[in-house]
Symmetry: C2
Subunit: 236 residues, 2 copies
């Protein structure tokens, strides 16, 4: 059984390599990290534990159909850290069988053999501002285990120290498509226009740091697009 | 000689398949279209004709180096319609020789053999609101001539009629990666916060139309990201 917190969509993927892609979302419960700025803390801090449903792959697929109907051919699995769940393999297999492509994001603290069946895998190691430590050996193991696949690295950046960390990761794995993303440190801002202006200014701040830096050449710098549209709302 | 209007960067690619990519820009002069909402009308309306410089590939490359230094490995060629220029082949060859990858966008009214050497080619046929007619046979010819390459289709959408046109194009070429992009019809808005809120609302409008539509599955819906940061400023 898979612990599920949210099933929603279709909506646009707001981040990373397939930003803008029409997708459904399945959000699993549980994380082995406790990032200081986690925007999905409800997946692990106990606040939503009564909402967790233990579901079979078939039940998840049925709910995706009942929510999304005939409108989608792509599902993003997010968390929490879905890589904690060896049993996700059955769901990925079912999606494959149904012709549905899949994206999955994980911080890279665990490898699962079913990573090999993910259409777009994003490894998002966490920078110093998160308060977490990165297991570089594990990143190596995952990247070796998924060689030849569509895998990218993404680092969320809140400050210059985070950007130095991003550079370190990029230099360790120069051949892996690399994304630098602005973080959102205004998770409580309710005024949409204010948040928008702030997030755009943070994106500009990041662009202005990365552009003159010759250690960052083959990189993509992106915001979290969904926050530009829906602010801090969940389930969209 | 290549008629050049702007050389700038590095900055982020604001649109399409490699949105966010660090890139330099070379903007060529001249267009065979006259789109009603063209955001680069100065490339063809005569207003900037005294700024056009006839440059050799070597001169363009030198200027890219002097502006961008060691910070880049990617150049976007935009217009106008750069596909009007058979002589661009020499520049593309020079970039290849220097290890620089290239992106190019054109509306798809002309084919050039050097399309085959573009790393990321975007065909952006113009919807009804532009006032232009699409040559579908030419799109077929270009897509056949660049088969196996990294080519995508992008349609800018201002209204529902444009979206119906986008659907038609997507259905004609279902295998080609397809991008739907919000247009900017407030080219004169100077108030950045106001423009930002407006553009985000237009993006949401487009998402809300595309998401429930089962004829759009494998699609990506994106804004013009650079307008979120720099508004209607040029050369950034
Ligand atoms: S790894 Fe992701 S889900 Fe887990 S605490 Fe960090 S940000 Fe939150
Ligand atoms: S094809 Fe592009 S450059 Fe030419 S008029 Fe249309 S929008 Fe402007």
């Amino acid at each position: 059984m898979i612990p599920v917190l949210e099933i929603f969509g279709p909506t646009v993927q707001g981040e990373g390599a397939v930003i803008g892609r029409k997708t459904m979302f399945v959000r699993t419960a549980g994380c082995d990290y406790r990032c200081s700025w986690c925007d999905s803390a409800f997946t692990w801090d106990g606040s939503a534990k009564d909402d967790i449903r233990k579901m079979t792959p078939e039940e998840i697929y049925e709910e995706l159909l009942s929510v999304g109907g005939e409108t989608f051919d792509h599902v993003t699995i997010s968390g929490g850290n879905p890589a904690l769940l060896p049993q996700l393999g059955g769901l990925i297999d079912l999606f494959k069988e149904k012709g549905i492509s899949t994206a999955l994001e994980t911080q890279g603290s665990r490898f699962q053999p079913w990573f090999r069946d993910i259409s777009e895998l994003t490894l998002s190691p966490k920078p110093p501002s998160s308060g977490m430590e990165t297991d570089i050996d594990k990143l190596h193991e995952i990247l070796e285990g998924t060689a030849g696949q569509n895998v990218s690295l993404k680092v969320v950046v809140f400050n210059e120290q985070d950007l130095a960390y991003a550079k370190h990761i990029h230099q360790l794995f120069p051949e892996v498509p690399f994304f630098i993303q602005t973080g959102n440190d205004r998770l409580d801002e309710k005024d949409h226009a204010k948040l928008l202006v702030y997030l755009a200014s943070r994106y500009e701040w990041l662009i202005n740091l990365v552009m003159p830096d010759s250690d960052f050449k083959r990189v993509r710098v992106l915001p979290q697009l969904h926050t530009f549209v829906w602010g801090n709302k969940k389930g969209v």
